[in-house]
Symmetry: C2
Subunit: 278 residues, 2 copies
């Protein structure tokens, strides 16, 4: 029996293409549902692709049914849309009460609400870890040549405790620890903006100039790993390097490493560690 | 008996002058130890004043002894100095081991270390609340005409829980809650920079445009209230307004309201509440 087809509901960034390539390498037929304003259709020239507005769930499920597909994977960046920018189609409209309720619960609730709606339409939503486990950082393999020294290990421990403390809240799960102290905590601004802030604080003298410190990144506890999985990639490595950090720590099996080989090579080149905590 | 004299070790901002005026109104003689690079000597034209480098503790204690003063109050902003910028005098040098240890513990530890050193030199360090209780926000009086509605009260509750979760860590104690979710948490960047970030996130579409949300600000649990007391003032009000927030919440007796009357008047004018939680 042929592997079932897979619809990749693609946001921004390099991950959707990676997941598509991984699924195709497994012998699956792949259909790209490119989210308008986020995915770049030109990245997928070799693929069956249609563009959908963020709220065109009816058109999306119809397109999947036309391809006899029932499995989908949401991957890539989507900035939370303004309510006024959402143009719901009929299929979405009937779910609007549950979506409106999801909206009140923040990004996580919103995306989980979308997953529930797609499931109610008869689809099976798979996590990236299911489809392409090789791009999830795990403790089973080394990710790069560098490793944290004792000082960095102590900073990682503090950072993980900060993230654990914030875990009950719907908030970006990353922090920067410098000199044993959390100097930046990610909110809705995203990891890149948080790292840029560390650069600015070094320049302003709010932090010691020079290098030292770590970035820790982890999902919230209980996070639905089918939506909004935390990700690091070359931009994260460059940002951490600019911020004078020694490296990045992530828990095993819970954070995607986008462009895995390029990311690891860049970390090695810049002298940063990527530590996967088991 | 005349009231004992008071040395105000003055950093930046409007608070040192307020505290000086308050102490003088109580009949105390006041000596301003203006910290070089932070306090503006021209703000204190009417006062006995000398300028000291951040690490000239020996010169400072001599100047106080020459005035027969034993009480001092640290007030105003001081950006954590780079180690290389500190030019310790002899009195500081003998305390250098304890100061170096304090440095490793972050801002809070650093300032507490300075307090301990001044105490070891025979000084009594008083909190702003002792000297000028009228500039600390308390639940005993209303601070402005606006009050939070039910939605804002729920946001305040979430915000206070976020700050409580972060309280064990040496980190700025402020957060912004929008739509029931913490969208910004203060690290070493300061409250004003965090509020500017909320403005930027609204513009970028990471947060709903328009208004809604609250700023909560509180000291860490166990914070030495003689150093680094959290403060709000007109800049905070303007920043919260620009960020589209409905108001600010602080716990009673633990946050200074700089330029109290001007701050309250500005909040009233812009339609923001200042809620003091008992």
């Amino acid at each position: 029996m042929a592997s079932p087809g897979l619809c990749i509901i693609a946001g921004s960034g390099a991950l959707p293409l990676q997941v598509a390539a991984s699924a195709r390498a497994q012998g699956r037929s792949v259909f790209i549902a490119a989210l308008k304003g986020f995915a770049r259709p030109e990245d997928f020239q070799d693929y069956d692709l249609e563009v959908f507005g963020i709220a065109q769930l009816g058109a999306l499920t119809r397109a999947m049914k036309a391809r006899a597909m029932t499995e989908a994977c949401l991957i890539g960046g989507v900035v939370r849309p303004a309510l006024a920018d959402i143009k719901p189609d009929l299929a979405l409209l009937k779910h609007l009460p549950s979506l409106a309720s999801a909206f009140g619960k923040g990004d996580d609730g919103l995306l989980s609400g979308v997953v529930r709606i797609l499931e109610a339409e008869g689809l099976v939503i798979r996590s990236v870890q299911d489809i392409a486990p090789e791009i999830v950082g795990t403790g089973r393999v080394a990710h790069g040549r560098r490793h944290p020294d004792e000082e960095s290990r102590a900073a990682i421990d503090i950072g993980m405790r900060v993230l654990a403390a914030l875990s009950p809240f719907d908030i970006g799960q990353a922090a920067v620890i410098v000199d044993g102290r959390p100097v930046a905590v990610e909110g809705a601004e995203g990891t890149d903006a948080m790292l840029a802030r560390v650069v600015a604080m070094r320049e302003q003298g709010r932090l010691p100039a020079g290098s030292g410190g770590v970035l820790v990144k982890a999902p919230k506890s209980g996070q639905d790993m089918r939506v909004d999985v935390p990700t690091i990639g070359p931009t994260t490595i460059r940002g951490a390097n600019a911020a004078g950090l020694r490296g990045i720590a992530i828990p095993s099996g819970k954070v995607l490493i986008a462009q895995h080989d390029a990311t690891i090579a860049l970390a090695d080149e810049l002298g940063l560690f990527i530590e996967v905590l088991s």
